[in-house]
Amino acid sequence: MAVAAVRRLAATAPVPVFVARGGGTGLLPVELAFDARLRLVVSPRHATVLVAAGRFPGPLGVAVDRVHDQLPAPRGTLWWTADVDGDRPAALRDASVVTDADPVGSVVALHRDLCLGRIRSDAAVLADDPPNRFEGRGDHGQGGEGMMGGVPWGRPMAMTGDDRDGLALDRLPVVLGPFLPGFPNGLRVHAVLQGDVVQEAKLEVLDLGSGPRLDRLDPAAGGAQHDLRWLAEALRLAGLGALAVRAARLARAAPAPASRAALARLVRRSGLPAAWSGVGVIDGEDARARLVRRLDPSAPEGRSPGPSLERVAEVLVGQDWSDAVVTICSFDLPTDRAEAVIEAQA
């Protein structure tokens, strides 16, 4: 009785959605933040619905499978794509498909059905195996000898490496992305972290496929629209969720210059430019400069081609991971954009 009441209440909650952006969507899904019936969340652990937007060929599909299996029950998946004949990773095999411009209604319905128990929560798609075999070998089943040996609970422990301050502490090799906040579509970072600082970094763009696109920008307003979407993503990264919603709203329609200027004023007053100053400097330009350029409605923002991935990787080395994320976000790396923007840049 009480449980049923709680479930009914939960069914009416704004739907926490985790969006995985694949190929052929650009930054379009950022605009979902505009709708009050949804809440875009930054971790699959906080979501009930996984919206996989775009194409997911090869390794990108594997990444979607991983994220899919990390959603807590009740969970459901929606494939939002213009290309239903494309690669369909395991996580999307039973997902309902949305091809129109507005998936919100389907998301809300899916959430409601999940909460009320009308449909079953998605099953896992990956095999239930630890990352490494470990049980049964070694003194304690850790799969090796000694205090640092073996692969306790399926993973080895990190090992030491030198650092510039003369200490030799643990280095963590990690593969981050592509579905992290602030990351452009398909970008993946192979990093070695020591503490919070990036010691080594390699950037890679996963195959985003080709075919029809979801995001068709108005070629006239194309640049501005894309910049507002980028701004929404950047503001969310900086903890300014409400301003991000505001930017997402403006991105949905060709905005009046006055409302863009009002947003720019709020962003300047938030201290975000100051917080980003000195971060990710390439060619004498820091993240602050890149942000300020996009805030100005009159300037031809973001038209310069981004730096090469190798140069970005160089800048990441020596930064702490939070700053590295800001750096990656600030460049708006052209991994997957609407043709309108790319033409405007050319």
């Binding site: 640092m148 090992m159 200490l167 030799a168 502490l169």
Partner: protein
């Protein structure tokens, strides 16, 4: 706040609860295999001792102990995790060095404590309730103990400077080592993927690959 001269049943019960918790958590410090857990179990032990001080009427001393120990154990956790092998107890290990000697020393000290507790003579001068102990402490610090107080301040500044000298990068290597914040760290050819159980020989100034003191024994 607390009538120490005639403690109520609450005070008696609380004392035994806190005392038992202090001893238990102190014991667990040496039985856990995670550095973070060990540190914070030690903190729990200290917190219970602080609570006992409060029961004894040490209004300032008790709370000050809680405050101090909390931040100090937090800082200790940073260092314990940084320098101890197997910092989170992912593999089992024992937390004691030289267990026989430690056990013997422990029993001797415990016996000494018992002797003092049973045969020692304790002062019996309970404070009357409501005495302004904090004001008296302040007056003492401003009066007779001013010199002690000020020299403590000097000693602590020396501590601050000393700790910076010992720990900061620039102090250790001077300007010659460069102070560029983003100086790339020395690279290791392999992405940290050493075969499990193998200690990489990367030793330079910072001690050997597994953090100098090689804490704990193999289980």
């Amino acid at each position: 706040m607390i009538d120490v001269s005639s403690p109520s049943v609450f005070v008696h019960v609380s004392f035994w609860v806190f005392a038992a918790a202090a001893v238990l958590s102190g014991w667990r410090v040496f039985r856990t295999d995670s550095m973070v857990r060990a540190t914070f179990l030690l903190l729990v032990s200290f917190l219970n001792v602080g609570a006992i001080l409060l029961l004894l009427g040490g209004a300032y001393l008790g709370v000050a102990l809680l405050f101090m120990m909390t931040v100090e154990m937090t800082v200790m956790a940073i260092f314990m995790v940084a320098f101890m092998m197997n910092p989170a107890g992912l593999n089992p290990m024992v937390m004691v060095h030289q267990p026989r000697l430690a056990a013997a020393a422990g029993w001797v000290l415990f016996g000494g404590g018992i002797v003092v507790a049973v045969w020692g003579r304790f002062p019996d001068r309970p404070l009357e309730p409501g005495r302004p102990v904090i004001v008296e402490l302040g007056t003492e610090l401003m009066g007779r103990s001013m010199l002690i107080f000020e020299s403590a301040a000097v000693a602590l500044v020396a501590t601050m400077i000393g700790s910076v000298v010992l720990s900061s990068r620039r102090s250790r290597y001077g300007e010659a080592a460069g102070d560029d914040g983003s100086l790339p760290p020395p690279l290791d050819p392999v992405l940290g993927t050493y075969p499990t159980g193998v200690v990489p020989e990367t030793s330079t100034d910072g001690g050997d690959g597994h953090g100098g003191d090689g804490h704990g024994g193999m289980h």
